[in-house]
Amino acid sequence: MMARALSGTWLALVFGFMIAPLVVVAGASFGRGGRTAMIDFPPHELTWQWYLAIPGDQVQALALSISLALACALAAALLGVPAALGIVRGDLPGRRAIAALFRLPLQIPAVVVGVSFLQLYYIVGDVIELPLVGSFWGLALAHLFIALPYVVGSVVAILNRFNMRLEEAALVLGAGRWSTFRRVTLPVIMPGVFAGAVYAFMVSFSDLPVALFLAGQGFVTFPVAIFQSLDYDFSPSMLALSTLIIVFSFVVMVVVQRSIGLTNLLHTGGAG
């Protein structure tokens, strides 16, 4: 009995610690703003005013972050699935080394990715006159570089558990190779693809360092906007947007749990 009460208290404390900043952001987004500061937590009176007055540049930053993350997740899925199929089924000598090669970007700190892609883009830009720094595709490519290992890892994990008999059965029953892939293989590996894509989305969406290096004039992602506003002009509408993102993250998690289960997502964390 004692032990149960003790562990219950411990969990309450640790979870309270973990959730506190999110509660503060959500709470303060409904505050009117005090006399001394714009931020008011706990709010003295509740108001929607910051949700109705989100400035255009903040909406733009959020829209940029979301489209970047979508592009990154889509590209990572389109490239990650064939890569995983090749690794698991290709039967090449040294496939462990190839798998390790795909994981390598995870070992590079994001700041180093930022520095190195900045210099790569300068040189590429000089040679083919393509300004990649400060461009959507330049940043998307760098995000893809960090995010691809997650999709490869999660799809490899699921392919290793795949029962080949399913495919053989489909082939014996007269299905073509393509329709076997589309109607048997793909549905089985889909949870892995989805889990990897969710990870890729989050990696891109929450990235600050790479975006700081590769952002340009008037090209600002949401994390960069928060970074800049913390030092200069912090506005409570930022909190309103952040609260919407928190709600969105929780909704995504519920969808993930309902559709593929959290275990599939957790397997992705180690990237294979």
Binding site: S7, W10, L11, F15, F17, M18, I19, A20, P21, L22, V24, V25, I39, F41, L79, G80, P82, A83, L85, G86, I87, R89, G90, D91, L92, I98, L101, F102, P109, V111, V112, G114, V115, S116, L118, Q119, L120, I123, V124, L141, F145, L148, M202, S206, L208, P209, P223, I226, F227, L230, D231, S242, I245, S249, F250, M253, L262, L265, L266, G269
Partner: protein, 284 residues
């Protein structure tokens, strides 16, 4: 039949390789040239940047600060995270899956927003400081921005969810029957935990702790947002050296040092776990 599967792998592999080799070789090469500031490099190969990092007190103290703060985060994350993972893994109530889902969901909210909440929570007139002052626990407001304490707290939010999930998996692989056996033989609960659970999860603890340490060494977002330009860990220093001072070669050298630290930690991790496993085989 199976021979053609590997063809699928080449486009993504070549793209990854091109980006990896292209980006890493260019910046590493840059670190071997003299830094002439304003983005220009010298023309002769030299080791002077590395010499500078190894001898200049400013860079050495930044490196030491990064190692020290990362180690502190590992200790605090372990103290909070390990019991939590254990309790969650052994919980039989209906709350267990719910709490696990909550843990995953909170870890998935971007760190930028968590840091934002922390800064508000610790602001001079904020809830925490008002209550601390009222309780008489401090005589002046505890500040987060620009302090080492703040950066450690911020980094913990970056690592704790991940750490708990890793160790949750580790504890789940330890059969409950081992604990029950020890309990039946009369060992008190804390002793079962200390003599059975901890030793069996030790390899998992070591690898997870090193993963957290590595994450902290390379962590930019918490350190930059909370450090506010006063706590210069290596990642923050790299960004400022390149973006504010336009010293590309020096920034590249620091980045190479950070990369080497990460590789060294990984090597230690592999060796340590290998030795532990070997030792266990001898005992068994």
């Amino acid at each position: 039949m199976t021979a053609r599967w590997h063809l699928l792998m080449w486009p993504p592999l070549l793209l990854s390789l091109a980006l990896l080799v292209g980006s890493q070789s260019i910046f590493l090469r840059g670190s071997f040239f003299a830094d002439l500031r304003v983005g220009r490099l010298g023309s002769e190969l030299t080791l002077q940047n590395y010499w500078r990092v190894a001898s200049d007190g400013f860079y050495l103290s930044a490196l030491w600060l990064t190692v020290r703060l990362s180690a502190l985060v590992v200790v605090f994350t372990f103290v909070l995270g390990y019991p939590t993972a254990y309790i969650l893994a052994r919980m039989r109530s209906v709350w267990a899956p719910l709490l696990l889902a909550l843990l995953v969901a909170t870890s998935f909210v971007t760190i930028v927003i968590k840091v934002l909440g922390l800064v508000i929570l610790f602001s001079p007139g904020g809830l925490l400081n008002v209550s601390l002052l009222w309780l008489g626990l401090t005589d002046q407001p505890v500040s987060l921005r620009g302090t080492e304490f703040g950066v450690v707290v911020g980094l913990m939010y970056f690592t704790i969810g991940f750490f708990v999930l890793l160790l949750y998996g580790v504890v789940r692989t330890i059969p409950r029957s081992l604990e029950q056996a020890a309990q039946l033989l009369g060992a008190p609960r804390w002793r079962v935990f200390w003599r059975v659970v901890v030793p069996l999860s030790l390899p998992g603890i070591i690898t997870s702790a090193l993963v957290v340490f590595n994450l902290c060494m390379g962590a930019f977002t918490s350190a930059a947002l909370i450090g506010a330009g006063r706590i210069l860990t290596l990642p923050v220093l790299i960004q400022r050296t390149v973006m504010l001072d336009a010293r590309y070669a020096m920034g590249a050298t620091l980045a190479a040092v950070l990369l080497l630290c990460g590789l060294a930690i990984n090597l230690i991790s592999i060796l340590a776990v290998g030795r532990l496993k070997a030792a266990r085989r001898v005992v068994a």
